[in-house]
């Protein structure tokens, strides 16, 4: 790897690790730690989404279905066997009689997400444009409807509780860093470069012998695997889960994060997830009256519910004013020093 590549990778990873370290400091309140952990899980989900959307240029409204199956798989399989009859009475006996530890459950979540994405992707990756967007949305609808009603594989319309909350600051940080590493490795690989070429100019890419359908399918399956894993982190952070938690709101939030940061780059995905999370926590503080200057300005805390309005308004504003996001679709780079012109000796570079 060249030095510039290393810098590109160190930007996102450094930022994630920094957030994790800040979250582990002693003086940070438990509430704030929960928010920081939530932000790290968001980074994992948004980067997973970016692996497909960013590299292929095809928007998917269905990726939260892979988060959902990962979350349900990890959740259902880590509840203690003795509690399963009361929490999810209808389970298939195979699921009811076994439980997994923390790490195996994350692996299972990734596997379930990946296999599901592969199966869905085989037919769906033939579509493009608006039909592809609507079809992925339909997948989300089917997944949500089945997870929210079928009691043989989960709680159905009820809430899954007593899930071990094993996603701590260390695991959350490591998880997010892992997802970023995989995403970076993929986009530097032969497969990632082929897919990015197809994003820029499908006709030229096809003429150069790239099978767009196959490259999209690989990215979709990889992205689904990462989403499933992120879903595992998500459920082990929350401790409870119902089908509504991993549906439209999460789809909107993660897409918003990706678009706000800039769809075209890994750096954009990380920045978007963290900026929107930070804005959310700031507005929540302001609602609770913990932000001094807002209290002074209004004479009272911010109205209840401002967080929702603020995040949505911020996203709409960024989309209208900066359609390519805060990072403008660029990877992380150090600011360049002005170069002194020297006569070129020998060959360039």
């Amino acid at each position: 790897m060249r030095r510039g590549d290393l810098v590109q990778l160190l930007g996102p990873i450094g930022l994630v690790v920094l957030v994790g370290i800040i979250g582990s400091l002693g003086f940070v309140s438990p509430d704030r730690q929960v928010e920081i952990l939530g932000a790290l899980v968001s980074v994992a989900i948004v980067v997973s989404l970016y692996v497909f959307v960013g590299n292929s240029g095809v928007v998917s409204f269905g990726h939260v279905s892979f988060v959902a199956v990962g979350a349900f798989a990890a959740g259902v399989m880590t509840i203690p066997v003795t509690l399963k009859p009361t929490i999810t009475p209808g389970l298939f006996s195979l699921l009811a009689r076994h439980s997994l530890g923390n790490v195996p459950s994350l692996v299972l979540a990734a596997l379930v997400g990946g296999v599901f994405a592969l199966l869905v992707g085989i037919p769906l990756m033939r579509l493009s444009g608006l039909s592809a967007g609507i079809a992925t949305f339909a997948v989300l609808g089917v997944t949500h409807n089945i997870l929210g009603n079928w009691t043989k594989i989960g709680p159905g319309p009820l809430t899954l509780t007593t899930i071990p909350q094993t996603t701590g600051m260390l695991q959350g940080t490591l998880g997010a860093v892992g997802v970023v590493l995989v995403a970076f490795a993929y986009q530097r690989s032969r497969f990632g470069r082929k897919l990015r070429a197809a994003r820029e100019d499908p006709a030229a890419a096809r003429a150069a012998g790239i099978d767009i359908h196959r490259e999209r399918l690989w990215a979709f399956a990889l992205s689904g695997t990462l989403c499933g894993f992120a879903g595992g982190l998500f459920v082990h952070q929350a401790g409870t889960l119902q089908a509504g938690d991993v549906y439209l709101d999460l789809t909107f939030l993660t897409l918003a994060m990706l678009v706000v940061g800039g769809v075209g780059s890994l750096w954009g995905a990380v920045v978007g997830a963290l900026v929107v999370s930070a804005l959310g926590s700031f507005l929540l503080d302001a609602e609770n009256g913990d932000v001094g200057f807002v209290n002074d300005l209004l004479g009272k805390p911010l109205w209840g519910g401002s967080r929702l309005v603020g995040v949505a308004a911020f996203m709409a504003l960024v989309l209208v004013l900066l359609p390519s996001g805060l990072t403008n679709g660029r990877e992380f780079g150090l600011p360049r020093l002005p170069r002194i012109r020297r006569p070129v000796r020998g060959s360039a570079s």
Partner: protein, 305 residues
Amino acid sequence: MTEHVQTLLDAVALGSIYGLMAIGIGLVFGVLRLVNFAYGQLVMAGAYALALTQDVSVVLSIALCFAVVLALSLAMELAAFRPLRNASPTTMLVATFAISYLLQSIALVRFGAIGKILVVIPQLTKPLTIGSLHVRWITIVTILVAAGVFAALTLFLTRTSIGLQMRAASIDSETARLLGVRANAVITVAVLISGAIAALVAVILPMAVPERILVTPDYALRETIIVLVGVVVGGIDRLLTATLGGFTMGFLVGALSGFLPSSGSWPFTSSVYLDSAVFMLVIVVLLLRPEGLFTRSRRSVVDRV
């Protein structure tokens, strides 16, 4: 037998409402190439306008509903659609996603999560009895109104100058502009008509669909999702195919919920899995005919250079 006729009539009425929404979404798509996910929130705003003014006279209340929805559609066009006019279709779709959530959260903060009961014209919800058949008046009115709107719009698009300009702009906006079609005027008219249809739906929907009597911040969201899907499945490029797509989805939802049993332990066997069944059908149709179910010509799926 009469039971089936009633179910089918209700399904046709639901299809008519979805068809109306499809017209609203299809008109704006035609001139702007923009899929408006926030369309349902126009209906929501109209429904709140009606629900909060139930103590004044019905005519005034409905007039207010139209005023609110038209103002909101115009604001959406000026503040969001116009700056995004040259953005990619997906950016625009995500932007309307954001607007939809913005309006929902404003409604949530302002009016709370607990719904308000809304009956606009109580007389219309009474049943009409023909032999052993009981049909609510609103069912008949809905079907007639939808047919009327579609007929009026067809006349408008084929017989008036601005209607012709609108069709020209939706087929090839650049050439139309070169030939002297004023883009902003045409777009504004399309947005206003689309808004008026949303207001109409806000009046009809709470009476026609029993579970929609309660106005909440996510009012009409489910309908919008299904209509959007239906519009793309039917063929978003033409108003007729888009409307047919919306109608078909509404009819399907109505008919399936009437005929499927209400409980079952496996997916797709009962009406709780209605959404799954509909969305699965959608996926199959999209795979077989990605350019739209009702479009006539089969264009090559591969983009030409």
